[in-house]
């Protein structure tokens, strides 16, 4: 999947993946896509909750070998 920016949040625990995601999105333009890599299992629910509450669109998410990938489209 294509993306405009990548954020490596691997090894970070709650709430850092969300805070870094928020910060990365702030520097992007509307409609652009942020790819986030994380290892925190809690980030799966948290990314969904973040998207729902902020209006950004979680367009895709996947898990492979304990690593999570999220694609967040900026509102």
């Amino acid at each position: 999947m294509e993306f405009n920016k990548e954020l490596d949040a691997r090894g970070l625990n709650c709430p850092l993946p969300i805070l870094r995601t928020k910060k990365a999105l702030a520097e992007m333009a509307s409609g652009e896509i942020l790819k986030v890599l994380a290892t925190d299992p809690g980030s799966v629910k948290d990314m969904q909750a973040f998207a729902k509450q902020t209006g950004n669109d979680l367009v895709n998410s996947a898990e492979a070998g304990g690593e999570y990938t999220f694609f967040m489209k900026k509102k």
């Binding site: 090894g11 970070l12 625990n13 709650c14 709430p15 850092l16 969300i18 805070l19 995601t21 928020k22 290892t39 925190d40 973040f50 509450q53 902020t54």
Partner: protein, 169 residues
Amino acid sequence: METKKLAMIATKGTLDWAYPPFILASTAAALGYEVQIFFTFYGLQMVRKDLSGLKISPLGNPGMPMKMPFGPKWFKGINWNIPNAVQGVIPGFESFATSLMKMTIANNGVATIPELRSLCQEADVKFIACQMTVELFGFSHSDFIDGLEFGGAATFFEFAGESDICLFI
């Protein structure tokens, strides 16, 4: 959509209990909340320039696992059940437990308190220190970080009365 508001009272002065207010405040701010924290009694330790007062104590805390943050996996898995009476007579036991906890925090990719506190400040979380307890404990305003406001219970209610979520921690 109207901005949601989160009001918190932070009353605890230990390293472990410094986490919930700062984690919730920074996350709420990231979700677009307007956040205010009122620091009172021991919670004042969280907004001092010097954070070395924040320690963790396994003494009288049966819920706290005592595990070592280093060594092989089997060793890390041992829960050191040290009796309170023994903990109480070892000088520096709290400082020792605190440094072990800080290692565990770093090993788990958990943010430090100074880091979370500055993330809150960057996100415009408003910090208010209770003037009454500042005086009660013999602190002066210069002991605290910049950007802190000093006020009393009425100041807290001004914001809390209009908040969507209100927590006492």
